[in-house]
Amino acid sequence: MVARLIAKDQSALDYLYDHYSGALYGVVFRILKKEEIAEEVLQDIFLKIWDKIESYDATKGKLFTWMINIARNQAIDKARSKEASKGRKTDDIDYLVNKIDIQEHSQLPIDAIGLKEVLLKLSEDQQFIVNQLYLKGYTQSEVAEEFNIPLGTVKTRLRLAMIELRSILDIK
């Protein structure tokens, strides 16, 4: 697959898009929350994958992981540039909305049924960590700071949640 992409074989990109655009778009959309912006960023992400595929190194991780990291970074960059141009007052509102989100974190804002079932099998702590880090796209230090949890605890909770998910999702 990677070799075909490097050879600029468009059918490889076609395949990649059909398989992974949903997962990548999910990540981007949850961070940016606006369809048009998220779709524009999704295009940029695939253009970047197409242009930068030579720099992907399989010994450092899977292609999916590489793509997800591009997607997250691209979306977070966009979110920051959006915030910077919005001025202060709306930031305060964002902050408030975030706070409200936090208070309601036990009710996960997720519509996919399969996902919800999976997450409900985790403890509340673990649901929270998975939701913040994987679904909402916060970094670990952001979660640590905002919710006053030591960074080490964030890491170990994540670790435990992922082990739990491993058996729920039947990863061998």
Binding site: Q10, L13, D14, Y17, S21, G22, A23, Y25, G26, V27, F29, R30, E35, A38, E39, L42, Q43, F46, L47, W50, T59, K60, G61, K62, F64, T65, I68, N69, R72, N73, A84, S85, G87, R88, I110, A112, G114, L115, V118, V130, L133, Y134, L135, T139, Q140, S141, G152, K155, T156, R157, L158, R159, M162, L165, R166, L169, I171
Partner: protein, 265 residues
Amino acid sequence: MNIEEYISSGILETYALGDLSAKEKEEVEKNLQLYPALRDELSKVEQTMEALLMKAGKNPRIEVKQKLFQKINKKPEGKLVQMTQESSSGWRYATAASVAIALFSSYLAFDYWGKWKNSESNLTDLIAQNQRIAQDYNNVNLRLDQIETDLKVTSNPNFTRVVMRGTPNSPESLASVYWNAQTKEVYLSIQQMKELSKENQYQLWAIIDGKPVDCGVFDFGVAGLIKMKEAFAVPTTFAVTIEPRGGKLSPSLETMQVAGNLAKS
């Protein structure tokens, strides 16, 4: 290195999330080369993340894919100009080449013009933002100056604080007077006073020897300390009434809102 401990610290999950610093990332990548157990574990971590995010996917609209492929096919590959040596009609190719170059340059010019426009509007935004921040900074500074002045009064032991509580006219109201027995200065601070119509103002009175002495008028809703007229003798009581704008010579006692006695020293 204790692999178990290393793994259970959650560092591989963090690595897969792309959350490590460049230095930590390099270290993990080095360790992955050294320890096969780490590679196996990372693979499971990645599979779990993939399975989770595949479940959490959301499909973009169909047009997005079409637009993406349009963009990819429109990209200039830099192979527009190809000269052939063997041609006898070299001039025709040269003409074709210069047309191609001209087209390509116009495209670039147009592209740069768009970028330039874009940065210009970004710059305008930034300048506006900068002005807003400067304005906010000035406001904060002014506010800080006022608070500093107020603090000098409230923390000065020569000022006696007299709390004026609400009368039956307005039990909710509350205000304080700071009175300096040496300099005779009087400051007022509103904690809670009712809103007044435009025609009316509050008037502060100092009761000296049983007689009300005017200490000046003020509006409702002023933040911080308000400097009032000086009270030259020792008052027993401070009180506030509602009077027509500008105040009166003697108080309309039936409108008294708050009052408080000076503690005898």
